[in-house]
Amino acid sequence: MSDHSDVAKHVRGYLIIGGTLIIGTVLTVLASYIDLGHHWNIILALVIATAKASLVALFFMHLISEKQMIYTVLAFTAFFFIGLMFITIAAYNDFPALTTTR
């Protein structure tokens, strides 16, 4: 993708991000010990996880500077993944009135 010189530039970035990820991990753990009320714990943990994940995707996987084609593919994938997850969950929250589960 890129010539040597700016790869060299990136190298420091990679190490910094690596460090950030470790810190993020520690944060998640600590956050899980303080009780912010069940939901907030979940949300916080997922936010941190998402942040870490995007770091990996953007920099380690170079998504920050990829080609159109790949963005397109991933956009569709993301869409269908969200569809699968949320429509299914929605279906579970929309049973006919008086339906009992469990």
Partner: protein, 610 residues
């Protein structure tokens, strides 16, 4: 390129003799997309025949089952000819050559599985896709030849596993091709486990295939082959690739989970408070049967478009070629195909209306289901209109391609009532559904695939198949297909439930004279008609099979590399195409279907002609 317009037979042989690979290298472990395509083709056709054989046995026992209504008590009839064989091979489930309900259920489940995953998809995607796509886009081969070979080998392995499962104690899977839990888990035999392992292998195969196809179409298009110069067939395969790539993994996940349920006693799909005669005493419960259905149909619906899109592609190619004019509305065809691919990911729960679905969600899925019917309407309309103004040649491929249109039309139209939850209330799980989808996949897709075989056979072998026997094959198949499936609409509308080992005899008026809403004798008698229709259908395939194999060596030689005078690139190669396909890399100068160009010398102008 003029060089290729007069015949150049056996270039294949010439081309490869400098590094002559051995038999195994050349035919079994080949990485050449053409050989792999043919491997796919032969295997898939054999499975198609096998799947049909299963169904013949089932249809026989259904037709016999109906006899029981009239005379009180179950007069089991041994299956003629093969009954003894089945007993010998399968043991108790076929005692006395009679089809037991268990055997009926395994045959039904395996018929569905084999037809969908081992016959039609491998034929439409694996065989035609592999052979034709690289040629049509002017590529030397697939992007990843070794992955391509692996894809076939996984498919073959999956096929073996599925086939072997017939002979294990208790026989093959019995829970339908949909394998709904908890049934799939409560049946005490290991057939289901084999089914799941087989599926995981087949899914892996499709994934490898899909990655390869998409990468190939994106990366290996010849110079000048822009997106909107791709033949429609390539577009169809492209969309199909994405469906397989993104819809299959959820089923793989579900398959793994059901495997865990069956082998390690987990409860992914087993709810609390299940009481199957204490059998499940030791499971934790807490799972959800609906979860399986969601994951299955998330694949299941895109899968059905995997079955139809390549067929539409083939039909489009053949119609354009034999009307000697471009497809009408090429762009709307392409965008419709893309739309179908996209929307097919969000309609899956129209298979689940009766699993207790609230107003909001059902409204959503009814709407998306209606939306997705529109692009199909557009595609068919375009194909119909493409005929207008053409100069139609009625050769065998064209006959099959033309027959596809009304047959798919009927199947598609009857999908509409099923798409409305309230109408589905009456039609769900009746023979109406069976008729609906068989009209799309059997007289629909199968006809398209046969058309493709007759059409590309000369390119693969350098010889033509017999035109006369082709017509015999066509008219026979056309008539009997309808004899088999048309009555099922009536049966279904009358309320005949599917997957009944006795064809609904137990619900007949004869059985319960007192009850209102039983099946009339007339409805049951259709079974006999259908049985003989199916037998006739089978007989009509004999001329085809003979024709196919006979013509490889003895068919009439083609007098050019382009016997159909087609415009697309696969016809601009030597016949059969050598390893590496093109003598020298083609450059594309024009749209895929430049037939009857005003002022052109001939009534067709190949894509690579400046």
């Amino acid at each position: 390129m003029q060089a290729t317009t007069h015949t150049t037979p056996h270039t294949g042989a010439h081309d490869v003799h400098h590094h002559e690979p051995g038999f195994w290298q050349k035919y079994i472990f080949s990485t050449d997309h053409k050989v792999i395509g043919i491997q796919y083709g032969i295997t898939a056709l054999s499975f198609l025949l096998f799947g049909f054989f299963l169904m013949l046995c089932m249809r026989w026992s259904i037709a016999e089952g109906t006899k029981m209504a009239a005379t009180a008590g179950y007069m089991a009839q041994p299956i003629p000819i093969v009954g003894g064989l089945l007993e010998a091979l399968l043991g108790d489930v076929a005692k006395g050559g009679v089809m037991s309900p268990d055997l009926y259920n395994s045959f039904g489940a395996m018929h569905g599985t084999i037809m969908v995953f081992l016959a039609i998809v491998p034929l439409a995607f694996g065989a035609f896709g592999n052979y034709v796509v690289p040629l049509q886009i002017g590529a030397p081969d697939m992007a990843f030849p070794r992955v391509n070979m692996a894809s076939y080998q996984f498919y073959f392995l999956g096929g073996i596993v599925m086939f072997v499962s017939f002979f294990i104690p208790g026989g093959a899977a019995q829970a339908g091709w949909t394998s709904y839990s908890p049934l799939a888990t409560t049946i005490p035999t290991h057939g289901q486990a084999f089914w799941l392992v087989g599926m995981v292998l087949l899914i892996t195969s499709s994934l490898l295939g899909a990655v390869n196809f998409i990468a190939t179409i994106i990366q290996l298009r010849a110079p000048g082959m822009t997106w909107f110069r791709l033949p429609f067939f390539v577009w169809a395969q492209f969309v199909t690739g994405f469906l397989l790539l993104l819809a299959f993994p959820p089923l793989e996940a579900a398959g793994v989970m059901q495997l865990m349920d069956n082998l390690f006693g987990t409860s992914f799909f087993l709810p609390t408070g299940l009481a199957v005669g204490g059998k499940l005493a030791d499971v934790s419960g807490g799972g959800s049967p609906l979860l399986w259905q969601h994951l299955f149909w998330f694949l299941g619906h895109p899968e059905v478009y995997v079955l139809i899109l390549p067929a539409m592609g083939i039909v489009a190619e053949i119609i354009s070629n034999n009307t000697r004019k471009p497809l009408w509305g090429y762009k709307s065809l392409v965008f419709s195909a893309l739309a179908i691919g996209f929307i097919s990911f969000i309609v899956w729960a129209h298979h689940m209306y009766l699993t207790g679905m609230g107003t909001k969600i059902s409204a959503f899925f009814q709407t998306t289901t209606m939306i997705i019917s529109i692009p199909s309407v557009i595609i068919l309309t375009c194909l119909f209109i493409s005929l207008w103004g053409g100069s139609i040649r009625f050769n065998t491929p064209m006959l099959f391609a033309l027959a596809f249109l009304p047959m798919f039309g009927i199947g598609g139209l009857t999908g509409l009532p099923l798409g409305f939850a309230a109408a589905d209330l009456h039609l769900h799980d009746t023979y109406y559904v069976i008729a609906h989808f068989h009209y799309v996949v059997a007289p629909g897709t199968i006809f398209a695939l046969l058309a493709g075989i007759y059409y590309w056979f000369p390119k693969m072998t350098g010889r033509m198949m017999s035109e006369f026997w082709g017509r015999v094959h066509f008219w026979g198949s056309f008539i009997f297909m309808n004899v088999v499936f048309q009555p099922m609409f009536a049966q279904g509308m009358a309320g005949m439930i599917r997957r009944m080992a006795d064809g609904g005899a137990n619900y007949s008026m004869a059985k319960n004279p007192g009850a209102i809403g039983g099946l009339s004798q007339a409805m049951l008698d259709w079974h006999t008609v259908i049985l003989w229709g199916a037998v006739g259908l089978g007989l009509c395939q004999i001329p085809f099979i003979i024709n196919l194999f006979y013509s490889i060596k003895n068919g009439k030689k083609v007098n050019s590399d382009n016997p159909w005078e087609a415009t697309t690139l696969e016809w601009q190669t030597p016949t059969p195409p050598p390893h590496g396909n093109f003598a020298h890399a083609p450059t594309v100068h024009r749209d895929p279907y430049d037939y009857s160009l005003p002022g052109a010398a001939k009534d067709f102008t190949p894509q690579n002609q400046a």
